[in-house]
């Protein structure tokens, strides 16, 4: 009888045991964000004026990707309550119940330590230090402090996402130069209009989760104006690599064309009533109500804009397509 009772208890406990697959743990690392991190870091590494051992460069980039994924896991562990409330994030491994919060923390911490160690071995201590700081900045400063306390969360927290191209540069050169800071600033300035465009058409989600994103805290009209202002500063600043000689003709043309389209979409948002229709009905990333299309379009285009901008640097420096801009850096 006792044995039967004990078996029942143990069987009941067994029902709470995880059925998480390795794929669930991989999803914890925000693979899409990792892709952008790897891409921008690679651009920084390629654009740097120093040759680097290809194998060590590969391991360094992998370390960076793991570090970014670790920060993502820590973010998902801490934000489990928010993610469970928001339609867009309800299917993440922690709110879905596939991975426990403590396991997410465990994985995030272990991966953080290993990635920084690998970076120190494969690249240099400065790159490892920057990686450690960017993980700390994203997981602690942004996720635990800024995100729930200020509408400027994404402006300051955006620095965490801006580190990868700088780290890529430092992997190659071992030092932080003006060009590395410029690459950092491009992503830093790109983050607010990109994130606020998403927040405009998902504002209901953020409001339900009590996250003071700009549209929730200051309203849609103010957010649309700030998107436009940040877009203007971003597009102007994106021309800086041409002035320092980091970017040549290909980059200049890309920056000019992409920037013009970015500004066009930002003006379109400013003139629209995006963000005033409330949250989208569906939880999908690009699902949107009719009035919010301008915001969705800028959000989608901003990803392409950043990708093309850094791809231009890669094309110029990796494939010998660099031609100086006459009269500027020629």
């Amino acid at each position: 009888m006792n044995q039967t009772t004990n078996s029942s208890v143990h069987r009941a406990e067994g029902e709470a045991v995880s059925t998480a697959s390795p794929r669930d743990y991989f999803d914890l690392m925000k693979p899409r964000v990792m892709t952008l991190v790897v891409f921008t870091a690679f651009a920084g590494l390629i654009a740097a004026p120093t040759d680097v051992d290809p194998f060590l460069a590969l391991i360094s980039i992998i370390s960076l990707a793991i570090g970014a994924g670790a920060a993502g896991a820590l973010n998902m562990a801490y934000d489990a309550d928010i993610d469970a409330t928001m339609k867009r994030t309800q299917k993440r491994p922690v709110p879905r119940g596939a991975v426990s919060i403590s396991n997410a923390y465990g994985m995030g911490l272990v991966a953080s330590i290993l990635s920084v160690l690998m970076m120190a071995l494969a690249a240099n201590y400065l790159a490892a230090g920057l990686l450690a700081f960017s993980i700390f900045f994203y997981a602690v400063i942004y996720t635990m402090i800024l995100k729930r306390s200020t509408p400027q969360n994404i402006v300051i927290g955006g620095a965490a996402g801006a580190f990868p191209p700088m780290i890529g540069w430092v992997i190659a050169t071992g030092e932080i130069s003006l060009d590395a800071v410029i690459l950092f600033m491009i992503i830093f300035l790109w983050t607010p209009p990109h994130s606020w465009a998403l927040a405009l058409y998902k504002s209901g989600d953020y409001a339900a989760a009590n996250v003071p994103m700009m549209p929730v805290a200051k309203g849609a009209k103010s957010t649309r104006l700030q998107i436009l202002l940040y877009s203007i500063v971003l597009v102007i600043f994106a021309g800086a690599p041409v002035l320092t000689g980091l970017g040549g003709l290909v980059y200049a043309a890309t920056s000019l064309g992409g920037g013009a389209l970015f500004l066009l979409l930002a003006v379109r948002i400013y003139k629209s009533r995006a963000g005033e229709a409330g949250s989208a009905e569906e939880g999908a990333l690009y699902a949107v109500r009719a009035g919010d299309k301008a915001a969705r379009d800028l959000f989608a285009f901003s990803i392409g804009y950043l990708t093309v901008l850094f791809a231009a640097l890669i094309v110029e420096h990796a494939f010998g397509a660099y031609w100086a801009v006459p009269g500027v850096n020629g």
Binding site: Q3, H10, R11, G14, V17, Y25, F55, L56, L121
Partner: protein, 93 residues
């Protein structure tokens, strides 16, 4: 001698009973005790399991274990290769 023999026999019997009843893994009815941290006894041997897993849980755990094992192997290989690459760089410079 006879009483002694009888006494020995009684003592032997008592010892056997004591062994069965004082086993920290089982209670008097043979069920696992709490002092055993809930570990099962199957055919008199500890199974090492504190909970009874269903097939899905066992399969998921196996997949996770394999993934962790491969990750550790990959990590060791990477550290080894990075060390070799670093050493050769230092030697050549």
């Amino acid at each position: 001698m006879v009483p002694d023999n009888g006494s020995d026999t009684q003592n032997d019997t008592a010892t056997e009973v004591d062994t069965e009843t004082t086993d920290p893994a089982l209670d008097s009815s043979g069920a696992p005790t709490s002092e055993n941290f809930g570990f099962y006894h199957r055919e008199g041997q500890p199974s090492g399991e504190s909970v009874e897993l269903n097939e899905d849980q066992i399969a998921a755990r196996k997949k996770r274990n394999v993934a962790i094992a491969w990750s550790l192997v990959a990590f060791m290989v990477v550290i080894f290769l990075v060390t070799v690459a670093r050493l050769s760089q230092n030697v050549s410079s």
